[in-house]
């Protein structure tokens, strides 16, 4: 009853949005689609929510085929598009009531499912949706997507443009929804959110790079990763990139993440090299790879 995608391809005129995508989402799983902008995440969501036909391949959602049984899918999934798509000129309560009515249900019937979320925006229930703050809009959109007790929930970049505190809250809400037996497919460009999913698919340029649990993806990071730090960040990066044995160099917060091509790499050699480039206060230490490092490694 989860989601099954087999060899899905989709192109727009010249651009190939999705190329031969296959993956399975188990029932009651919180599955993340992680990828940068333009990777094909939204196209994939639109196919799975029956808004778009795939050029090739088949997909089922909650056991229904996305092309043949689209009507059944529309009854049993909740979709929250990346762009706020509720009626701006209806109030919070009117929006919720409207979507409940369209699905042939009432707010009361499924109130316990949305209670945790809705209770936070209930004080503003007479305010027009267009006048809500970003975080509140997102909670309202989630409430509306859940009002008919969907089996599968699609969230397309739900946390884009949301502040860090609201993002954290949002993921906690998703975890609670998962416990209520809802399969959740969520896409995000934020790598740090990947660790909160049960399994993730890393996607780029319409292709899936890897599918696994976040822990396994990190564990399979192929080489040793080093944090390098100095007083002059820009000069540090340019110097590292001209180092003959460098494999990958990219900024990561206050550090530069560095990997070397040699298996017997000695950090002291690098330090000597960097000092010769007139850099001072150089620190080099081993660090654990994150999802972002794995993504960078896979995508190069």
């Amino acid at each position: 009853m989860g989601i099954s995608v087999t060899n899905i391809s989709k192109s727009y005129k010249n651009a190939k949005a999705l190329q031969d995508i296959s993956f399975e989402v188990k029932p009651n799983e919180l599955f993340g689609i992680i990828g940068p902008d333009g990777a094909g995440k939204t196209t994939l969501f639109r196919i799975l929510t029956t808004l778009l036909f795939p050029d090739q391949g088949t997909a089922t959602v909650a056991g229904f085929d996305v092309v043949k049984d689209y009507k059944k899918i529309r009854n049993s999934v909740g979709y929250m598009p990346g762009k706020f798509s509720l009626y701006h000129d209806l109030t919070v309560e009117e929006n919720l009531n409207f979507f409940a009515t369209i699905f042939g249900t009432t707010i009361e019937e499924n109130y316990n499912l949305i209670k945790d979320i809705y209770i936070q925006i209930e004080p503003f229930k007479d305010r027009r949706a267009g006048k809500l703050s970003g975080g509140m809009k997102q909670k309202l959109a989630l409430s509306c997507a859940l009002i008919h007790k969907p089996k599968v929930l699609f969230l397309d970049e739900p946390t884009t443009g949301v502040d860090p505190v609201s993002r954290k809250e949002f993921w906690e809400m998703l975890k609670r929804l998962q416990q209520k037996g809802i399969t959740i497919l969520v896409s995000t460009p934020y790598m740090d959110e990947a660790a909160l999913c049960d399994r993730v698919a890393l996607i780029q340029d319409g292709k899936i790079l890897q599918i696994d649990t976040p822990e396994a993806i990190v564990k399979h990071y192929p080489t040793s990763l080093y944090n390098v730090r100095s007083t002059n960040m820009y000069q540090l990066i340019t110097s590292l990139k001209t180092y003959e044995h460098h494999h990958s160099v990219y900024p990561f917060g206050e550090f530069v993440h560095y990997t070397d091509t040699r298996s017997d790499f000695n950090p002291e050699d690098l330090k000597v090299y960097l000092e010769s480039k007139t850099l001072s206060d150089i620190q080099i230490e081993r660090t654990e790879a994150t999802i972002e490092d794995s993504f960078m490694e896979l995508s190069t």
């Binding site: 639109r46 929510t49 029956t50 808004l51 778009l52 036909f53 009507k71 529309r74 009854n75 999934v77 979709y79 598009p81 762009k83 706020f84 798509s85 509720l86 009626y87 701006h88 979507f99 369209i102 699905f103 042939g104 509306c144």
Partner: protein, 353 residues
């Protein structure tokens, strides 16, 4: 938004009905009197007595008069030839030169008719004067026409313009609102959210269009009240019949609006296409220019113009008191049109992108 939807069209109704007149008044009249006799002065006085003409001045020559017309100082110049009075006496007939500024062709035509009428009536009076002297035994044979203007006895242009303008307003408002509406949902993204719900196409479309149908009917009601109170337009026929026809007619317009909406991506595109059809519909509706005077192919095109039927029905019912059977042909055509347009609109509306 709602006050705008109602107030602006009704303002238009009041303003346009008072302004959009075919009557041509205050015609600037000039003359060149080469004769300077009592007969020629009597003719010019005839023009001065008419309420349509303002006799401005005499010009000494044709050249001066032509220059004045070029400057826009005069609309009509009449030239009375030399020996006008004498020749009339001896030869019993004469010709007058009349120059009309035809930059506005419609006005020029009307002016020509006015001039002919005045000259004709003058003609009759001098026939009597002249015949007294020489040939009293010859009785001139005179055929006089006495027109009766049925359904609009005083030829009051408001009586036929107000129902027509009301038609335009009801059509414009409903077409623009419905054409804009679904496109707007596309633009702000709500359509995507709606499309993943199990809502049926027909439910969605009825939900979208019914409010505009109601607005159209309300506009008609208020417009009729204004027509009665301000313009005192006769309402001979059954109002119920008018409402019955309008209720079907608005469906046609909404169908067209929805059809436009389905094939456009932005409100700007929808607006442009709606305008395109609106202008053609209005100018070919028979409201401003009679359909009978259009070329054959254009007359054929007007068969597909819903506004034409509505203008016809509105005038027939209000001014003539036509009954159900009289407007049945228009009613049936409109009904077929409504079914066709809405069928096309529902068919072309896709819940997938």
């Amino acid at each position: 938004m709602l006050p705008i939807i109602f107030i602006l069209p009704l303002l238009q109704l009041v303003i346009l009905s008072n302004a959009a007149t075919f009557e041509v008044k205050n015609i600037k009249f000039g003359y060149i009197d080469n004769d300077r006799s009592a007969t020629s002065r009597a003719l010019i006085e005839k023009f001065g007595a008419s309420t349509y003409f303002n006799v401005l001045q005499a010009y000494p020559t044709q050249i001066r008069a032509g220059a004045a017309m070029l400057r826009g100082e005069v609309d009509v110049v009449m030239e009375i030839p030399q020996q006008f009075a004498r020749d009339l006496q001896t030869e019993q007939h004469h010709t007058l030169g009349v120059t009309i500024n035809a930059i506005d062709g419609a006005a020029a035509g009307v002016e020509n008719v006015y001039i002919s009428q005045i000259v004709q009536s003058y003609n009759q009076s001098i026939i009597i004067d002249l015949s007294q002297i020489s040939d009293a035994q010859i009785q001139p044979v005179m055929i006089e026409t006495i027109p009766l203007f049925w359904y609009n006895e005083t030829l009051n242009y408001k009586t036929f313009m107000v129902p027509g303008i009301l038609v335009l307003l009801v059509t414009m408002i409903t077409l623009f609102l419905s054409g804009m509406n679904i496109v707007r949902e596309k633009e702000i993204g709500t359509l995507e959210q709606i499309n993943v719900t199990p809502i049926k196409k027909s439910q969605f479309i009825i939900g979208k269009l019914f409010p505009f149908w109601a607005i159209g009917m309300a506009l008609l009601s208020i417009g009729l009240i204004i027509a009665k109170l301000i313009f005192n337009i006769p309402m001979l026929g059954s109002l119920l019949l008018l409402y019955l026809y309008t209720s079907i007619y608005i469906l046609v317009v909404l169908g067209i609006g929805l059809f436009i909406s389905n094939f456009t991506d932005t409100q700007q595109q929808a607006m442009f296409i709606a305008w395109f059809f609106m202008v053609i519909f209005i100018l070919m509706s028979g409201l401003f220019t009679p359909i009978e005077s259009m070329p054959k192919w254009a007359q054929l095109m007007t068969e597909f113009n819903p506004i034409k039927y509505y203008v016809e029905v509105m005038r027939m019912v209000m001014l003539k008191g036509s009954g159900f059977l009289d407007i049945l042909p228009q009613l049936i055509k409109t009904l077929v049109y409504a079914i066709l347009m809405n069928g096309l609109a529902v068919w072309s509306y896709k819940k997938t992108t």
